[in-house]
Amino acid sequence: MKSVTQIRSHTVVLPMDNVDTDQIIPARFLVTTSRDGLGRGLFADWRFDAEGRPRPEFVLNRPEAEGASVLVAGRNFGCGSSREHAVWALQACGFEAVVSTAFADIFRANALKNGLLPVQVNEATHAALAAAPGAAVTIDVAEAVVALGVLRTAFPIEPFARYCLLNGQDELAFLLSRETEIAAFEAAAGHVPWRIR
């Protein structure tokens, strides 16, 4: 994973609450063995009509959304299915951070493992961001602060996840480094209680 220290971008605002991962990427786009090429599926049923033509009114299709890497979303973003494809699709379309008042647990975990930053802010900050689509924001990972003009808001981030983001470390490498402890646990826990055949 490459390190993530600071994100500077204008925002795009998708204010609906409870945006589930089936909306972020419908299941039919999951019929793949790759993590690449998923951008086409991002919000597919909102971005495109039945004939595959872009819906001009959808926020991601507007010219001002071009180049935005911060998505300001409603409450409980990423609920539902555990599909990590939702994170990969957002990243394929250039998103580096999602701001919301609350994230679904599995989505947050998936996002952090890929360097997509889930930024959880209070209602007041969220309202300010939602009211200013296209505003320039700066998100600093080390300080865990999102800045919109003079408005600076701290956001919670799990310390280990922050360490991994800043250092570009991935969790798998960390887990592999715990081999001795894992082997000791297995030795103490005894044998596998079944024999699968």
């Binding site: 204010p15 609906m16 609450d17 409870n18 589930d20 089936d22 909306q23 419908p26 299941a27 039919r28 999951l30 019929v31 793949t32 063995t33 790759s34 993590r35 049923d45 039945a50 409603g74 409450r75 409980n76 609920c79 539902g80 299915s81 555990s82 599909r83 990590e84 494809h85 994170v87 609350a102 679904a104 647990d105 599995i106 975990a109 998936n110 493992k113 890929n114 799990e158 310390p159 280990f160 360490y163 969790e171 798998l172 960390f174 887990l175 592999l176 715990r178 081999e179 402890e181 894992i182 646990f185 297995e186 826990a189 596998v192 209680p193 079944w194 024999r195 699968i196 055949r197």
Partner: protein, 467 residues
């Protein structure tokens, strides 16, 4: 020495700590059982190949095919083969399981089925164990008093390579269902009622523990239905403490402990229930006696109402307005009597033998209404075989419903079992999200009883009114 009172989750958690969490690092949690399917695993196996890693514990890993495979049969009476990219996923899983030594129950195997149906029926789901799968409905296995939760594909790779995960302990949330369910009210109604009450983020960050007399009197299959939809309340997991019902279900199953090991296991499992004095971060009491058959009207599982209720007013809420528009519904109107096009009975929520028996009880001697397509998809080959031995398949066929091969099917429309744009379905699955069952499709979630009643009437019906 008496320690601090502990919850069921505390006990499982502490027994699986490779290393405890600190302020700086999460816990390293050992995983007893890893279930794998064709859709969320190929990228994880690719990661292992790229790093030159092996699967650490193939004997703690079981793979099957369920999500993307067809459930139709061809002219030869056999399941239609997967095509295109779905065929690639199937082939990739076969290759990955072969190369990494992972046991696989593929299409054609008598043990194939929806991953959350086969784990319990094979006796792999043990009380007190940790179970993960790249699927959010892994919470199903919590019905046995296991700590079971869904993970993303990166974590699938972590577990394949290290049999461990980095995790923070979930907060605890006890929900006590007092009283007993009334006739015609099922486990599905119980969980839809809870989600309607707490909302789809109501249990975020928490592991739910379902307790109380109404839970104790549920069968294991019904407990699985409840735990299955914990994720729809935002929970990280949902558990029921094991009891004699659990042990009776597990005894004699293929991978359950046997002989002397069985007695030792049951003795160990009996220590799992939360201590009487254990404190929970959050507690809720629900009077199960007052629960009604439930149905969802909107595009989130929290948008549920009693079957005789009316569609709510948006009150200016943009999400509710969007849901009303998508569903083509008017506030203040009842759902009863609304025409439907499709009935889907299946999914990891409601595709077990008990679910099929309930649906058959309604459909026996009746016909699916003209113009309605009804699909019955058993959860596994074992369920299919048992149902056929009881003649349930005949009941469904004679009623005019389709009897399919096991798989996830129309729950998530990854194969060709899909709603057409604008169609209305009553579905026993778990998600009514926009387009979940096919682009433009509109889903009402309900129990197998309610779904079967809708099939007969061609409209949303209170099953208690069918004589």
């Amino acid at each position: 020495m008496q320690g601090r009172p502990r919850t069921l989750v505390d006990k499982i958690w502490e027994a699986h700590l490779v290393s405890a969490e600190t302020a700086e690092t999460p816990a390293v949690l050992y995983v007893d059982l890893h279930l794998v399917h064709e859709v969320t695993s190929p990228q994880a196996f690719a990661e292992l190949r790229a790093r030159g890693l092996r699967v650490r514990r193939p004997e703690r890993t079981v793979a099957t095919m369920d999500h993307a495979i067809p459930t139709r049969r061809g002219a030869d009476g056999r399941r239609a083969p997967a095509e295109g990219a779905a065929a690639e996923q199937v082939t990739a899983l076969e290759r990955n399981c072969r190369d990494f030594g992972v046991p696989l129950y593929p299409v054609g195997d008598a043990r194939q089925g929806i991953v959350h149906v086969i784990g319990p029926e094979l006796g792999l789901t043990h009380p007190g164990s940790t179970i993960v799968c790249g699927d959010s409905h892994t919470s199903t296995h919590g019905a046995f008093g296991a700590l079971a939760f869904g993970i993303g594909t990166s974590e699938v790779g972590h577990v394949l390579a290290t049999q461990s995960l980095l995790q923070r302990r979930p907060r605890s949330f006890a929900v006590e269902f007092t009283g007993a369910l009334a006739p015609g009210v099922s486990a599905k109604d119980l969980i839809l009622g809870l989600i309607a009450q707490v909302g789809t983020a109501g249990a975020a960050g928490h592991a739910l523990e379902y307790r109380g007399s109404a839970i104790r009197s549920l069968t294991m299959e019904e407990r699985m239905t409840v735990c299955n939809m914990s994720i729809e309340a935002g929970a990280r997991a949902g558990l029921v403490a094991p009891d004699d019902t659990t042990y009776e279900y597990l005894a004699g199953r293929t991978f359950a402990p046997a002989f002397a090991n069985w007695d030792a296991a049951v003795a160990r499992w009996r220590t799992l229930p939360s201590d009487a004095e254990a404190a929970f971060d959050c507690e809720l009491r629900v009077d199960a006696t007052a629960l009604q058959p439930m149905i969802t009207w909107g595009t989130s599982p929290g948008m549920g109402i009693p079957i005789r209720g009316v569609v709510p007013d948006s009150g200016g809420d943009a999400s509710l307005e969007k849901a009303l528009r998508y569903m083509g519904l008017e506030p203040g109107k009842p759902l009863l009597g609304r025409k439907i096009d499709v009935v889907f009975i299946g999914s990891c929520t409601n595709s077990r033998l008990g679910d099929l028996r309930e649906a058959a009880r309604v459909l026996r001697g009746r016909r699916v209404a003209a113009g309605v397509k009804a699909l019955v998809v058993p959860g596994s080959q074992q369920v299919k075989k048992q149902a056929e031995a009881e003649g349930l398949d005949r009941v469904f066929r004679e009623a005019g419903a389709e009897w399919r091969e096991p798989g996830c099917s129309m729950c998530l429309a990854m194969n060709d079992d899909r709603l057409l744009p604008g169609q209305y379905a009553v579905s026993t699955s778990n998600r009514n999200f926009e387009g979940r069952q096919g682009p433009g499709g509109r889903t009402f979630l309900a129990s197998p009883l309610t779904a079967a009643a809708a099939a007969v009437k061609g409209a949303i019906t209170d099953v208690r009114e069918l004589s």
